[in-house]
């Protein structure tokens, strides 16, 4: 593994995104539209203040999971991955290169979405906004890492797209967004502790309510661990030799 090859991979993925204006536009505009809809629908209530930050954290995870799993599957099926595996490129170089590129895209996404939510829709964030953006970016890296690992399970684009609901939706149900975790059946509450989105939502809800770094560092630490674990899984499931 070398920094030069990791960075070259990140630059290459970003160059591919640069040529794909429509994807970039969707990544940046779609979350704003959804936040705008929520703000409009619940105008005059505190729903946006309570759930806006959670959405700001959820979008990067969702979008980066999808984009990464499809992008890596495309590498597997087009033969580019096969050739990369004959080159002096470490498997970790490739995985980290992807994670870095999508983290960069997610940073832009988080900045745009937070700016839109606070300035245009009037979302109030009691806690530090910078911390909210940092958690959103960490979510994006987590989503990329999960997408890389999940793409190893898919053989076709159809399967890759189906993996998104399979991996993300159960987490969305148990993360505490639909029902406070304290009110859940005990078994589901236990399960939710083993899923990364729980900690992302927890951190975002606390930041929305005015928590500082000291209050959320446990949740952020858990997310960092999940991200590291998913990156390792992404590296391990990437095979030099295939059938």
């Amino acid at each position: 593994m070398t920094a030069a090859r990791t960075l070259a991979t990140a630059r290459r993925v970003l160059a591919q995104l640069r040529h794909d204006h429509r994807t970039v536009a969707l990544v940046l505009v779609m979350p704003c539209v959804l936040i705008g809809l929520v703000a409009w629908m619940f105008d005059g209530t505190d729903v946006l203040d309570r759930f806006g930050p959670v959405l700001v954290g959820f979008f990067p995870l969702l979008v980066m999971f999808l984009v990464t799993s499809v992008a890596t599957l495309r590498e597997r099926t087009s033969g580019t991955l096969e050739r990369l595996m004959t080159m002096p490129l470490g498997r970790a170089d490739l995985v980290l290169g992807y994670a870095l590129a999508f983290a960069a895209l997610a940073t832009v996404q988080a900045l745009v979405v937070v700016a839109f939510a606070t300035w245009v829709c009037g979302m109030h964030v009691e806690g530090p906004v910078a911390l909210m953006i940092a958690v959103a970016v960490l979510n994006a890296v987590l989503g990329s890492a999960l997408g890389l690992a999940a793409s190893a399970l898919a053989r076709t684009e159809f399967q890759a797209v189906q993996l998104m609901p399979a991996v993300i939706l159960p987490q969305l149900v148990t993360c505490g967004l639909l029902m406070p975790r304290a009110a859940m059946p005990v078994v589901l509450e236990r399960v939710s502790r083993g899923l990364p989105l729980t900690y992302a939502v927890d951190a975002m809800q606390h930041i929305a309510a005015g928590a500082a770094w000291a209050d959320v560092r446990g949740a952020v630490g858990a997310m960092a661990l999940f991200t590291a674990g998913a990156l390792v899984l992404g590296v391990v499931t990437l095979r030099r030799r295939t059938g």
């Binding site: 090859r5 070259a8 630059r11 290459r12 160059a15 033969g79 580019t80 050739r83 004959t86 295939t242």
Partner: protein, 247 residues
């Protein structure tokens, strides 16, 4: 490079066996390819050419038996700097320009400055340097893919059907390029199912059903079969193998 390394055969296989999807695709293959030659790997579709090439470059799983490449076991990390591989389908990023594709691969290969311009000239694509690969024709894409394989100045080039879909003029210029690379001391393993390209190879390996049907110079194969060209020699050998199998 040391004397021992340059003396090692480009490829040496003993009892090579590859299983793909539960089917034996290469079965007990023995082969020694000397370094510094253009070796043509010929045979019908499904004869195991691509599988053998994938095994040589170290990306094929379920490979048993002995397989040494440039004196090292196939798949050794040290080989990754010394191999250039071109897959059958052009393995380049369609959503990048030609130059962006080459720059990325050049960084991975640690290729010296100026390599991108050199390979663009070698495959005659300098005028398309700034074009998106997606906008190129099939033949142009496959030349971009070949250019990537040429970047690191590799000791062994493994090229899977590099001339497929190209017009005669381009095919000739690529075979001229392969000869120049050979003259510069490189080894090349080039697959093709166009038998008339056999005349441009120093040595031919005819494959059928995952085994080597014949291995030698075109002159040797013609003398052995009495055929006028590679295609005739191949058909004569297939008939002879069929007759031997039926007997």
């Amino acid at each position: 490079m040391g004397k021992n390394e340059s003396a090692a055969p480009a490829v040496r296989a003993r009892g090579l066996r590859v299983v793909r999807g539960g089917r034996v695709v290469v079965d007990g293959l023995d082969l020694t390819l000397p370094a510094g030659q253009v070796v043509g790997l010929l045979g019908p579709s499904g004869s195991g050419k691509t599988t053998l090439m994938r095994a040589v470059v170290g990306v094929q799983t379920h490979v048993t038996g002995e397989l040494d490449v440039l004196g090292l076991p196939a798949g050794s990390p040290d080989l990754r700097r010394r191999l250039g591989y071109m897959t059958q389908a052009p393995s380049v990023y369609a959503d990048l320009t030609v130059t962006e594709n080459l720059r990325y691969a050049a960084t991975l290969q640690g290729a010296p400055r100026g390599s991108v311009e050199r390979v663009l000239a070698e495959v005659d694509l300098a005028s398309h340097a700034r074009d998106l690969v997606a906008t190129l024709s099939g033949g142009e894409r496959s030349r971009v893919s070949l250019a990537v394989a040429l970047l690191g100045a590799p000791d062994l080039l493994v090229l899977d059907e590099p001339t497929v879909g190209l017009d005669p003029v381009l095919r000739r210029s690529l075979w001229d390029l392969f000869a120049r690379l050979r003259d510069a001391g490189r080894s090349l393993l080039v697959s093709s199912h166009v038998m008339d390209e056999a005349a441009r190879c120093d040595r031919l390996v005819l494959m059928r059903d995952g085994a080597v049907l014949a291995d030698g110079t075109l002159a040797e194969l013609r003398a052995r079969t009495g055929a006028a060209d590679a295609e005739g020699a191949f058909l004569a050998l297939v008939d002879a193998a069929g007759a031997a199998g039926a007997a």
